[in-house]
C-alpha cells in the first residue's frame, strides 16, 4: 500500500492523477482500478477525469461518492441516463436492475440502446457502457423484475435507490421496500412532454400520495409515448438528487414534487405536508 501510494504521488501532477498513472498502478501492483481510485482519493489525489467536478465536488466528497452504492431500478429511458451520469460523476458502485432486452422502439430515447444492442439485456449494456466510460466504477447487474420478494437482496447496502420504473404498482412496492429498509428513494416518472421528480426519505409518503387514486394501467405515457428529451431531463434531476443525498448538501425535493411541462415550459413545485403517523384516515 505504501508503495502504491508513493507510485501515485510520484506520477501526480500537483494533486491530479492522470488516467495513464491509474492504469499503470493497477498493472504494477496487480490491483483493480476501483482499488487504485479509492487509494488515490484517500490520499487526497483527484483522478484527473474529475477535475471539472472539483469546483462543485472537492476531493473528500469525490471519495464519498466513490464509496457509495446506488441502486437503479429500471434501465430504460430514465435508468440509462441515470447510470451514465452516476458513472461519470464517480459513484463507485451501481446496481442495475431490469429484466428486459432492447427493442427497436427503445432507440428513440434509451441511451444504452443502439442497433448493435438490440436483443441484448439492458443490464448487460449498462455494464459494457460503464466499463467503457469509467472503468473505476463497478456495475452489479440483476436481470430480473423488481419485486418485494427480491427487494432486500437487490437493495442491500445501497445508500440511495433510484426509481426509473415504468409501472405504477411496482413503484409503490419499491417505495414500501425502501421505507422498510430505511433507504432514501428518488422518484422520477415521464410521459410525453411531461415529467415529475420527488425524493422520499424513510417515513415520507409523497409517492403513495401521488398514486393514491391509481386503480390500474398506466399514466399519460400510454397515450403520449416518450420522446428523447423528457427522460434525459428527468434522469438528470434524479441524479442531482442522488448526488445531494450522498453528499448531504443542498435542498432535496423532499415533501415536494417538481412537475415538468416541456410543451408549455412550465415547472411547478408542489408542497406536500409531511406525513403524520398519528393521524389516520
Amino acid at each position: 500500500m505504501e508503495e502504491l501510494n508513493a507510485f501515485m504521488k510520484e506520477r501526480a501532477d500537483n494533486d491530479l492523477l492522470p488516467w495513464y498513472a491509474q492504469l499503470a498502478a493497477a498493472q504494477r501492483f496487480d490491483v483493480s482500478l476501483p482499488r487504485v481510485e479509492e487509494a488515490a482519493l484517500s490520499l487526497g489525489l483527484l483522478p484527473a477525469r474529475y477535475q471539472r467536478n472539483r469546483q462543485a465536488i472537492p476531493v473528500g466528497q469525490q471519495l464519498a461518492l466513490f464509496r457509495s452504492r446506488v441502486a437503479v431500478i429500471g434501465c430504460g429511458g430514465l435508468g440509462g441516463y441515470v447510470i451514465e451520469e452516476l458513472a461519470r460523476l464517480g459513484v463507485g458502485t451501481i446496481v442495475a436492475v431490469d429484466p428486459d432486452v432492447f427493442e427497436e422502439h427503445n432507440l428513440n430515447r434509451q441511451i444504452l440502446s443502439t442497433p448493435s444492442t438490440l436483443g441484448r439485456a439492458k443490464v448487460e449494456a449498462a455494464v459494457a457502457r460503464v466499463a467503457d466510460i469509467n472503468p473505476a466504477v463497478t456495475v452489479i447487474p440483476f436481470r430480473v423484475h423488481y419485486a418485494p420478494e427480491n427487494g432486500a437482496v437487490l437493495l442491500r447496502d445501497s445508500d440511495v435507490v433510484v426509481d426509473a420504473l415504468d409501472s405504477i404498482p411496482t413503484r409503490l412496492d419499491l417505495a414500501e421496500t425502501c421505507a422498510d429498509l430505511g433507504i432514501p428513494l428518488v422518484h422520477g416518472a415521464i410521459g410525453g412532454w411531461y415529467g415529475q421528480v420527488t425524493t422520499q426519505f424513510p417515513g415520507d409518503d409523497t409517492i403513495q400520495k401521488l398514486y393514491s387514486r391509481w386503480v390500474e394501467g398506466k399514466g399519460v405515457e400510454q397515450q403520449l409515448g416518450n420522446p428523447s428529451f423528457t427522460p434525459a431531463l428527468v434522469a438528470s434531476i434524479e441524479t442531482a438528487e442522488v448526488c445531494k443525498i450522498i453528499l448531504g448538501e443542498g435542498a432535496p425535493l423532499r415533501n415536494r414534487k417538481l412537475s415538468i411541462n416541456l410543451l408549455d415550459m412550465e415547472f411547478e413545485d408542489v408542497i406536500f405536508t409531511p406525513h403524520l403517523v398519528a393521524i389516520g384516515e
Binding site: L210, V220, K257, V270
Partner: protein, 74 residues
C-alpha cells in the same frame, strides 16, 4: 365564490389551461373534478394554493386549484 383553475398535460385537451369559475361556497374539490368531467382515477395530484390536497377538501373564495394527470413512464 371564484376559484382559479389550472389544468395540466392531457387534462387541457378539450378543456382549458387556466380559467376562473364560480362555485357555491363550501364546494369540495371532488365536485369541481366532476364538473370538469375528469374521471377521478385519472387524477395524479391535486394542488391547492401550491400545496398537495385531497378531493374532500372544501374550497374557499380565491383558491387556486390545479389538477395533474397520472404520469408513470420510465
Amino acid at each position: 365564490m371564484r376559484i382559479n383553475l389550472k389544468l395540466f398535460a392531457t387534462f387541457r385537451v378539450g378543456r382549458f389551461s387556466a380559467e376562473a369559475r364560480e362555485y357555491p361556497p363550501g364546494t369540495p374539490v371532488a365536485a369541481v373534478i366532476r364538473d370538469l368531467r375528469i374521471p377521478e382515477e385519472q387524477i395524479g395530484m391535486i394542488m391547492l394554493n401550491n400545496r398537495h390536497s385531497e378531493p374532500d377538501q372544501q374550497l374557499h373564495e380565491g383558491d387556486n386549484l390545479a389538477l395533474f394527470p397520472l404520469v408513470g413512464g420510465g
